[in-house]
């Protein structure tokens, strides 16, 4: 570990939160490429020493975090309650935001077909998403994007590592008996119940 790497490690350690490579470069008066290179070797060095923490790269930012296998002992010692797993609704909202950001709440609700404000508020509070800006469209709605915590939670470094959206597609249902089916002309089939 050279002096620059030592400083970088100190900054990451003290910061706690993810910190941009550009900010490290500025503070150390070196180029961003140098920062990235130094962090790569620093990362190897930490793992050679079998350190209990590692450097995560999350959407252009670096963060020090303990290695996953140590989670149980840390939970036990710090008495942290395990976060409840994300609900189906939360995962749907995250999916919409992750692939379309920045997105407004109206967009989310349009895709899901239900009011999603409490879920958006909950995900904001938990730090998975954040307000990114107001959109330059009429009404200037607030838009949301995902955070580094989102990347960390789903084990990816970058949004580009999300599964390819084209691998998801609507499944056509078997069309055995669609041929004869158009508007039924039997009025009794149209009983209305409102």
């Amino acid at each position: 570990m050279n002096e620059l790497q030592r400083k970088i490690l100190a900054i990451l350690f003290a910061s706690g939160d993810p910190i941009g490579g550009d900010r490290l470069a500025e503070a150390l008066d070196i180029t961003l490429e140098d920062v990235d290179k130094l962090l790569l070797t620093l990362s190897d060095w930490l793992s050679d020493l079998d350190m209990p923490f590692e450097i995560l790269y999350l959407g252009g930012q670096y963060q020090l975090a303990t290695r996953r296998e140590l989670a149980p002992i840390i939970s036990a010692a710090l008495d942290t309650r395990r976060a409840a797993p994300l609900t189906q609704a939360s995962l749907e909202v995250l999916a919409i935001i992750a692939y379309n950001q920045p997105v407004t709440r109206a967009f989310i609700e349009q895709v899901r077909g239900v009011d999603s404000s409490s879920i958006v508020a909950n995900l904001t509070q938990k730090g998975f998403i954040e307000e990114v800006d107001r959109l330059d469209i009429p009404g200037r709605p607030i838009a949301f994007g995902t955070t580094p915590l989102f990347l960390r939670t789903f084990g990816i470094s970058d949004l580009s590592e999300l599964p390819d959206p084209h691998s998801f597609s609507a499944q056509p249902m078997p069309d055995e008996d669609t041929a004869d089916a158009h508007m039924p002309q039997d009025p009794d089939q149209m009983d209305l119940e409102l």
Partner: protein, 230 residues
């Protein structure tokens, strides 16, 4: 409402359960199954139910338009719009499932920020920035409150009004009077009854049994078109 995330979720369930083709939705069939589903589900959660009722109204609307000779295109447009939404939501659910798999059981722990000596905020702002920000935050605020549940009480009263009964009613009246005042037909009665009357009227017009007067004020019986319904 039940185990469904919303009306789209419920529709996807029905489409898959009844092996329908998502790319060629049969609206009448879907509407009937959807209504049956809503009937089965508890109506306790009125606020959620409002979204389900909205979808019911939408399906009725599409179906209604499909019965009107000159509105088939519009009906087709609305139908493919719904198809698009269903497909989009289906993809959303697939992505959500993928995310669920990616979620790692063991989290990374990170550090809280180490306390630092505070340096005061060094930027200066013009006070007008505040006024602008205030306007942005408040000025174009949308009314986000959902309508109160009471508003749906009348709708969820669940009275079944068969369209066929309204067709018989209209034909009976018309046989006697030959023509009826259009607005009078919809006077009184519950909302579900009026909707059923309207669909009955559309059915009769499509079948060529009745027509509207030039000024749209009267419903006129087409002579010779009675027998089939007697």
């Amino acid at each position: 409402m039940g185990d469904f995330e919303g009306p789209l979720d419920a529709l996807l369930f029905l489409i898959s359960k009844h092996k329908m083709d998502i790319f060629d939705i049969e609206i009448s069939q879907l509407l009937a199954q959807y209504m049956a589903l809503i009937e089965d589900l508890s109506g306790d959660e009125l606020e959620v139910a409002s979204e389900f009722l909205e979808m019911a109204a939408r399906l009725v609307h599409i179906k209604t338009l499909a019965l009107l000779p000159r509105h088939e295109e519009e009906a087709e447009r609305l139908r493919s719009e719904l198809t698009g939404e269903l497909i989009e939501y289906q993809v959303c659910r697939q992505v959500a499932a993928a995310l669920r798999e990616m979620q790692t059981p063991l989290p990374h722990f990170v550090r809280p920020e180490q306390p630092q000596p505070q340096r005061p905020y060094a930027h200066r702002h013009d006070a007008t920035e505040l006024a602008r920000a205030y306007l942005l935050a408040t000025g174009r605020r949308q009314q986000r409150m959902p309508p109160p549940p009471e508003r749906f009480r009348g709708i969820v009263g669940r009275r079944v009004v068969p369209v066929s009964a309204r067709i018989r009613y209209l034909l009976r009246r018309l046989r006697r009077h030959r023509r009826m005042d259009y607005n009078e037909v919809f006077d009184g009665g519950e909302r579900s009854e009026r909707v059923a009357t309207f669909i009955a009227l559309l059915e009769l017009i499509k079948a060529g049994r009745v027509r509207l007067s030039e000024d749209d004020q009267h419903i006129i019986l087409n002579e010779g078109a009675l027998r089939q319904y007697e």
